[in-house]
């Protein structure tokens, strides 16, 4: 168990800069997710932490000790690969035993047949077997120990890969999209199991995923990466409710946040040329972007801020998502509604929408966030 810190790490492949000075501190026993679209450098960062990739510049340290020049095998980390990377010729039990065999048995003791007769080998082998059994029981794969990976289902292989990682007691676990090859149902189940495993082992987890739901549901903190940078690293609720950057707001949240172009002129914020509020202005006038989560929008019959026609409805049972094509604008906004509003949301029905400015996120033209507190004084909406 140990904390981890990454300081201004850059990585180049030829002319392409994949990581542009990434700094991240991970506390002891913390579960941190690296999340971002494909190609954002999250896997590269994980492989740099693992030691499978060298840094171009910067430093990685584990438990306060710099490991930048240390090879992967000496970093005391365990990794679960996206493809699971199980040794196909070894049984499940042998696969899980590999990290222990490699580390606690000498090369002579590892010899096939003869190795068993080397002094001290018997005791160590018994120890390894009991550790393997314990790990297998924890993951409920005790009955599969004699099978080969080729005879297992995807979910079972994934558990074996986890077992191989946790059979040792490493400084930290690195997981590279371990759920991406599972079907949707199994993914939900395994998600909960990994989170429980983290609580039980109380060890540092670094989890790479492109799936924001995985990141939101499992992590203590989420680091949202894009274009080789960490845009924001914070607890899931902060990332969702209080993003620093429009890219973070757009990446996290499903359905996606609605972004509406707006303008602040002479102290008045207007949307599509329609003044809607007078924020206490501490910012330069100009173009802004208004971010509205689907749940921030409400249906209203009188004095709507936005109006349009229902273009598409997705009924998820417990909630409804409706896409509203705004009148006179080539923009669709997504609205979350409760099932009781279903009768209002017939296709092509005319609806009016309103929102509280408190729930809106304001970003400048460059996508940087302008905090509510700075910009807005009024609590309720003034409809002009």
């Amino acid at each position: 168990m140990a904390g981890l810190s990454i300081t201004s790490v850059t990585k180049r492949f030829g002319d392409t800069e994949v990581l542009k000075g990434v700094t991240l501190d991970v506390g002891d026993a913390e579960f941190v997710s690296l999340v971002g679209p494909s190609g954002c450098g999250k896997s590269t960062l994980l492989r740099i932490i693992a030691g499978l990739e060298d840094v171009t510049s910067g430093d990685v340290s584990i438990g306060g000790r710099s490991v930048t020049g240390t090879r992967a095998a000496d970093r005391d980390l365990s990794m679960v690969f996206q493809s699971y990377a199980l040794y196909p010729h070894l049984t499940v039990g042998e696969n899980i035993a590999v990290p222990l065999r490699m580390r606690s048995l000498s090369p002579l003791q590892r010899l096939p047949l003869l190795g068993g007769f080397m002094p001290g080998s018997r005791e160590k082998r018994i120890e390894i077997n009991s550790a393997v059994r314990e790990a297998a029981d924890m993951l409920e794969i005790g009955a599969l120990l004699d099978r080969k990976p080729g005879q297992l289902s995807g979910g079972q292989r994934q558990r074996v890969a986890l077992g191989r990682a946790l059979v040792r007691d490493p400084a930290a676990f690195l997981l590279d999209e371990p759920l991406s090859n599972l079907d949707a149902k199994l993914r939900v189940q395994t998600r909960a199991e990994i989170a429980q495993l983290h609580r039980r082992l109380n060890t540092t987890f670094i989890y790479v995923t492109h799936d924001q739901v995985e990141a939101m549901t499992m992590s203590d903190r989420i680091a949202v990466m894009m274009d080789g940078e960490i845009l924001q690293c914070a607890a899931p609720d902060i990332i969702y409710e209080d993003p620093n950057d429009i890219r973070v707001a757009e990446f996290i949240g499903s359905p996606k946040i609605n972004i509406l172009p707006s303008e602040i002129q002479a102290g008045t914020l207007s949307l599509f040329g329609k003044p809607i509020a007078k924020p206490s202005l501490q910012t330069q006038p100009g173009l802004f972007q208004l971010g509205l989560r689907p749940e921030a929008l409400r249906l209203t019959a009188k004095d709507p801020i936005l109006s349009g026609r229902v273009a598409h409805v997705e009924n998820l049972g417990s909630e409804l998502f409706a896409q509203i094509a705004l009148e006179g604008e080539p923009i669709r906004v997504t609205l979350r509604a409760s099932p009781s509003d279903r009768h209002h949301l017939k296709l092509q029905a005319q609806v009016g929408l309103t929102f509280t400015l408190e729930d809106a996120l304001i970003f400048d033209a460059n996508g940087k966030r302008h905090r509510r507190a700075e910009v807005f004084a009024p609590r309720s909406v003034e409809v002009a």
């Binding site: 499978l52 992967a72 095998a73 000496d74 365990s78 990794m79 690969f81 493809s83 990377a85 040794y87």
Partner: protein, 321 residues
């Protein structure tokens, strides 16, 4: 909306019969060819091996197992077995090991590896008969390149090695004319010619090794190249190895052209390179002793069949993950 009309005469049993007839009809040409070209000759050879038939004779006599008795009693055939097995036992392991080694090195090289790949594969593409003539020149006892090169070592430190000491004092080996060296020369040429082919097979096998497995091995604490080879590469090459060994064995049993090129008249000094294929050729073709030639052929067939069965068994049981 239509009603599906069911023809009452088409019962499931009839339908099955019809399909079976079509299936047999379609496989018939292939089956006929297989019988004519492959099985019939084997059966004829098997029958002839119990006769004293010669080509051109109007009749023949059944001689029972006399031909086979001869194979296991005459000293010529003892030499044949010794030469053949010496060749197989030497060439197969060395050419497989060299092929694997070369493949691993070439694979590690990247772009420059292609040059080595071509160089190592050249002997495979060359006609062995033509190459044999080149080797014959190089191995000539007096004017050959090999012995002349060795002579350069005379008077240097190298003379401390017994081989050079002997060579400088009494002359270097006659190679192709020396019954102690002849079979090893044939083995050497066999290895030189064959390992490039094994290398290509292994290179193909190496492409199927999942790269992430090496990373997993590194994370699991396999620090040396040998440990990674043992944990990842060698097991992954299992199916390739079985195939390469089988192919190499069959090719080694079939060695003929070098022997024929070096010693057209009879299998090397003191019959020390009298390999099976050459024996078949000599008995069956040159001396027109079809009976004994067929008997050797049958034995050859049994060896190859045996190897193939072992390969099938290994592939299905041991190395298929």
């Amino acid at each position: 909306m239509g009603v599906v009309e069911i023809d009452p005469s088409v019962t499931p049993a009839r339908e099955r019969n019809r399909q079976a007839r079509t299936a047999w009809g379609l496989t018939a040409p292939a089956l006929a060819l297989m019988f004519l070209i492959l099985l019939v000759p084997v059966v004829i050879a098997a029958l002839l091996s119990f006769t004293n038939y010669s080509l051109g004779n109007s009749g023949f006599e059944w001689v029972g197992t006399k031909n086979y008795d001869r194979l296991f009693t005459r000293s010529t055939y003892e030499k044949m077995f010794i030469a053949t097995f010496t060749y197989v036992v030497t060439v197969v392991p060395i050419s497989v090991a060299l092929g694997l080694g070369a493949a691993l090195l070439v694979n590690a090289l990247g772009r420059i590896g292609d040059i080595y790949k071509t160089i190592y594969f050249l002997p495979v593409m060359a006609t062995l008969l033509a190459m044999a003539i080149v080797w014959e020149f190089m191995l000539h006892p007096t004017i050959g390149m090999v012995n002349q090169t060795f002579e350069l070592a005379c008077g240097t430190v190298l003379e401390r090695i017994p081989f050079f000491a002997n060579g400088c004092a009494e002359g270097f080996p006659l190679w192709l004319g020396d019954r102690d060296y002849a079979i090893w020369v044939i083995c050497f040429i066999g290895i030189w010619q064959g390992f490039g082919f094994n290398m290509v097979l292994y290179l193909a096998g190496l492409t199927s090794v999942h790269r992430e497995l090496y990373h997993a091995a590194e994370m699991d604490g396999a620090k040396s190249a040998w440990e990674r080879f043992r944990l990842v590469t060698w097991p992954a090459l299992g199916p390739t190895t079985v195939f390469v060994v089988t192919i190499s064995c069959i090719r080694a049993f079939q060695v003929f052209d070098t022997v024929e090129a070096f010693w057209p008249q009879g299998g090397g000094p003191n019959k020390s390179t009298y390999v099976m294929m050459f024996a078949i050729f000599e008995k069956g073709v040159q001396q027109n002793l079809i009976g004994i030639g067929s008997a050797i052929t049958m034995l050859f067939l049994i060896f190859v069949m045996f190897l193939t069965l072992i390969q099938r068994w290994l592939v299905e049981r041991k190395v298929h993950y």
